[in-house]
Subunit: 242 residues, 2 copies
Amino acid sequence: MVSLKPLVFCLSRIENLMQKVSFDPQKMEGAIITNTTMVDLKMLDSTLRIFRDVMESGLAVSPYLKVETFGSRAKILSACSITVSAVLLKAGVPVRPRGGGVIEVIDREPVRFTDMLMYWATTIDPIDVLISQELTSVLEMMQTGSGRILGNLQEAPMLAVERIEERLEVLAEAGFSGVLDLGEPNMNVLGVSVERDHVGLSLVGGTNIVAAAMSHGIGLKTESISSLTEIGEMTHIQDLVS
Amino acid sequence: MVSLKPLVFCLSRIENLMQKVSFDPQKMEGAIITNTTMVDLKMLDSTLRIFRDVMESGLAVSPYLKVETFGSRAKILSACSITVSAVLLKAGVPVRPRGGGVIEVIDREPVRFTDMLMYWATTIDPIDVLISQELTSVLEMMQTGSGRILGNLQEAPMLAVERIEERLEVLAEAGFSGVLDLGEPNMNVLGVSVERDHVGLSLVGGTNIVAAAMSHGIGLKTESISSLTEIGEMTHIQDLVS
């Protein structure tokens, strides 16, 4: 007899991680959700330099990384944007991650989702899918102001808007940003409709740093929304790159 | 001003194609839904040999192909399993394609879906996603009877079961097969639940032939559920491979 392991859709993995987030942006304590990237030790320095450039362009969630080495390979843990949703959730906002996608940016203005996968309907992480389909042009966007980046869409009741704005400010002071669009109640966000009496919140994908390094030809293995890391064990990118 | 092109989810592309299918399996006339694969002309013969082996193992939808050459490249059009759904639809069965996934086979018995993406919640074809994630082991399955193959899940009202069985028989006589599981009413199909008073129908993915050739190291570009092809313009694999 074969035991039937049920399919685990992405949203349930995300909710498990959101539940475990203990990050307090004011005290800079607790665990955040991180993406895991593996790279050859030889390429670590050039990878980190690209990561820094992307972070300085505002296309990453936070400038904090944890780097560990295993033999000839390095493991880089970087902030995942679902951390922002988790902080909203812990502040009592019933926020729901809807999906990950590719966002077209024109003249530094996010315009629309060009591709999207809903978290509750895929067992493979949307961002991992989109990275391997090579649909992004993060470097081009940084250089010209127009291109395609990774992002996601969250949804929350419109009555929570004030609380959301207040928390996003606290997060920004702690170095956690990446809000592409906080929609008006009942209005589309980057071309995607939200539920009635809800607002949409679009965040940059934490893995834009990875997409940029990959388009520089660096071979990286990445897994999105994969782990929890204590913010106290993470280092600001400025202290990692000379 | 930028015009906001709406996102096109996979299911609506599929429904457009299903609407256009005119295939009559008894007369062997009309258009079927096909997958498109591009290959270097130099590798065409070895690719077709692998395709034949996979077809003979029962892991493809039909043995008919259309091959066109463009300079140094060949385009292979092969039957997509959504053709089967379209034939059921044209026979009056309200069949709904739910999603594409990876199916674990043990001792030649399909056991469960190990990954799945729902058609109505992704703009990128599930099978294209799964092929690029390299989650299948079609060759291993052919050699040992156990491995992971591509497949999909359809759903229909349980009252349609007789009509479905009758049409599947007609299709099988015409060389269109690939049914992995036709569930009992209200019962899970390969570990995935169906709606109340519905049956699930799991079909092999037409792109198993492509996954097999890719794991032989042949560089192919494939696009699933991409076109319509007249069955009369297609050739039986036996007449293509010596």
